[in-house]
């Protein structure tokens, strides 16, 4: 299945040809889920500001639309595009050809079918009620089975030897962490319940790990792979990269319980979660400074390239997200904003600001392989700015609104109804943010479809170097 010897390492073009159909299929279906998820999220957001909107209908009630949206985004969009990125990067970095694409494609088809069933089951009222794990137990079994060939193939590409490059560490971490996280969470919470507040700790471990050990490492693997290449420089420091990697994989699992300050989880677990969340500053600074020192003065040039612009912004969001997360985790602040808009807003920021931006950047790089236009196009620039604006609006709304709401919630004199009033205007802003993300998803879907369709006649892209304008290098 794989060519192992470095001597016979296939050319990147060959590797790309062997994986790109599979990876594009991952991305194509992922974009469908991004559209569906953003649409559902916008509906949920609208229901908060207009309670009468589509009210009184079982399958469209807020408590079903919202988890349907988050599951579509987490398992449809984010996980499928993460799988696409991982497949491509593993093939490229390890010089492996994907020969079993039929198997992988059928696994991705099964994955899509499972997510479809899961989302419909949530809308139909079969949710498990555990945030992030609402899809029924049968669906998670199918997802895990579908993951098996994908994960095994991706990991088997590492047979060539020691994974020497930073991106490879992150890929191995993510590929191993996902089945670990998802099997544990399902075994203890979905397939068979765990009574009592133990559920909270287990759920928190899964939830923080799902982002910090699955989506985030793949986003960072992409950043560490594409940005140095685009800048034409080596990664600044291996030591710094290594520190950033190990501190991340250590903190990401521990930080989850920080959300239960004052909650029915033993105090030491919550305190350990708080410390881990604060320690997250180490990987954030290590990664962002390492990438910054790598790119250096090439920043302006890279800004004009689609993949690099997405990936740079993703790294900036990583640093920003961690900084804000630390501020709101500090106990005096947390006691005010704990149950407000802030935490959901931060989750959205991480998901779209870090993961979505990075994955879309990789998608554009892959599309660029077929169409050697790596400079930013009006179309990709629009997608970029819509996502940044959407995330920005959601973040501002959740912080300003969240603090207003939080102060109202924690002032014993203010009635609960007033805390809703304080938050209301910000929920409109949040809705606007979700509509921006929906528009970005639509723009991305159009861009993706057009680029594929346009290229179809010119199939069998035997890219000729001579024809390729050296736009990227300037």
């Amino acid at each position: 299945m794989i060519q192992t010897s470095t001597a016979t390492r296939p050319a990147p073009a060959e590797i790309d040809r062997s994986v790109q159909g599979t990876v594009l299929f991952c991305f194509g279906s992922a974009i469908f889920w991004l559209l569906a998820g953003c649409l559902l999220h916008a509906v949920a957001g609208a229901k908060l500001v207009m309670p009468g909107f589509l009210d009184g209908i079982g399958f469209l009630t807020y408590g079903r639309v919202l988890p349907a949206a988050t599951n579509a985004i987490a398992f449809g969009w984010a996980s499928l595009s993460a799988i696409g990125v991982a497949l491509w990067l593993c093939a490229r970095l390890n010089g492996a050809m994907l020969r079993a694409s039929a198997l992988i494609v059928s696994a991705v088809v099964a994955w899509n079918a499972a997510v479809l069933v899961g989302v419909l089951a949530i809308l139909a009222g079969s949710s498990t009620g555990i945030p992030g794990l609402e899809m029924p137990g049968g669906v998670s079994v199918v997802l895990l089975v579908a993951y098996l060939p994908i994960g095994l193939w991706a990991l088997s590409t590492f047979r060539t030897g020691a994974p020497g490059f930073v991106s490879q560490w992150y890929l191995v971490a993510a590929l191993l962490a996902f089945p670990w996280l998802y099997t544990t969470a399902n075994a203890l919470l979905v397939w068979q319940g765990t009574p009592g507040s133990a559920m909270g700790a287990i759920f928190a471990w899964f939830d923080s790990g799902f982002f910090g050990l699955w989506l985030l490492p793949i986003a960072l693997a992409a950043a560490y792979y594409f940005l140095p290449r685009a800048a034409g420089r080596p990664v600044f420091s291996r030591g710094l990269a290594s520190l950033g990697f190990w501190t991340l994989v250590l903190c990401a699992g521990w930080m989850g319980t920080s959300r239960f300050q004052g909650g029915p989880i033993p105090a030491w677990m919550v305190s350990a979660g708080v410390v881990a969340a604060i320690l997250l500053i180490l990987p954030a600074i290590a990664v962002s400074s390492n990438l910054y020192l790598t790119i250096g003065d090439a920043c302006e040039r890279l800004w004009m390239q689609t993949p690099a612009r997405f990936l740079i912004t993703s790294a900036v969001f990583f640093l920003g997200w961690v900084s804000l997360l630390i501020i709101v985790t500090l106990p005096p602040v947390n006691s005010i904003i704990q149950f407000s808009l802030v935490n959901p807003g931060l989750t959205q920021t991480a998901l779209h600001g870090i993961a979505s931006l990075a994955f879309i950047g990789v998608l554009y790089a892959l599309l660029g392989v077929r169409h050697p236009e790596s400079t930013i196009t009006p179309r990709s620039s629009l997608v970029f700015w819509l996502i940044v604006t959407g995330v920005g609006l959601i973040l501002c709304a959740s912080f300003f609104g969240g603090f207003f709401q939080g102060f109202a919630l924690s002032d014993p004199i203010v009635t609960f109804a007033n805390s809703i009033t304080y938050a209301a205007p910000f929920r409109w802003v949040e809705l606007a943010g979700h509509l921006c993300l929906l528009a970005a998803a639509a723009g991305l879907a159009r861009d993706f479809a057009e680029q594929l369709l346009v290229s179809s006649p010119a199939q069998a892209p035997k890219p000729a170097a001579a024809q390729r304008p050296e736009v990227a290098a300037v």
Partner: protein
């Protein structure tokens, strides 16, 4: 490289994998590392609630202490009552009277306060390993099973709950110190099954007061065990080994 396929990302070197530089980790990063690590550890230490699974509010030092009360030795009878309420009342009832025909009483029971052949060593053994089969208590026969507690309760906790049942409901027997429980636990470490009345009767009677008077050769449960539950001389009943029939 002369790779005919040029992707939009500029190739850096012969391989398509970027090179990795060997620049040292910047000094300021190590400083940050140490500072954040230090304050993190400090915060965790101050808010750990003693790393206990039943402290939920880190401001509350320990649930037994009750809001920062002076951390003195815990009164074994107070701790014992709590342990008894949590673990024992389902069978023996909070009155200690048991359930007629099912669960033997503790009030005035020769098993608890001592009898012609019942010593303190038997009582501790019953608690550690459990008891099953027919037993005679205060003239009645009970045939039920008591579960072992050796893996659930520590020496201090067993000592506390025994001290409690020996001084409550009119019972008046000497407190059981934790190091005595530790001594019995060490002697019976091999025991894997509950006791029967016959097996216990075969063991000679021993009283705490004797065991304390001539300390066991192997000082098994010294150290913290001895400290936290002192033999309580303040209990106004100086240990008078009960030999009532």
């Amino acid at each position: 490289m002369t790779d005919p396929h040029t992707d939009p990302i500029v190739e850096t070197a012969a391989s398509d994998t970027p090179a990795t530089g060997t620049a040292p980790v910047p000094q300021w990063f190590w400083i940050l590392f140490v500072v954040v690590g230090f304050f993190g550890a400090l915060y965790l230490g101050m808010n750990s609630g003693g790393f206990s699974s039943d402290v939920f509010n880190p401001d509350q030092v320990s649930w037994a202490g009750g809001g920062g009360a002076a951390a003195g030795p815990v009164d074994p009878k107070v701790a014992g009552k709590r342990i008894f309420t949590k673990n024992c009342v389902v069978c023996h009832q909070s009155s200690g009277e048991g359930v007629a025909g099912q669960f033997p009483p503790l009030v005035g029971s020769e098993w608890v306060v001592g009898g012609d052949w019942h010593g303190d060593n038997h009582l501790v053994r019953v608690l550690l390993h459990g008891l099953q089969g027919p037993v005679q208590v205060k003239g009645d026969t009970f045939n039920n099973a008591m579960v072992p507690w050796k893996d659930v309760l520590s020496d201090e906790q067993i000592a506390a709950v025994l001290t409690y049942i020996r001084s409550e409901w009119g019972n008046n027997a000497a407190p059981i110190p934790a190091d005595y429980v530790a001594k019995v636990r060490a002697e019976t470490a091999d025991r894997g099954e509950p006791w029967t009345q016959a097996a216990l009767k075969a063991i000679g009677k021993e009283l705490v007061s004797e065991a304390v008077a001539n300390p066991a050769p192997e000082a098994e449960g010294d150290g913290p065990a001895g400290e936290s539950v002192p033999p309580e001389p303040a209990d106004s009943q100086p240990s008078a080994p009960p030999t009532e029939a």
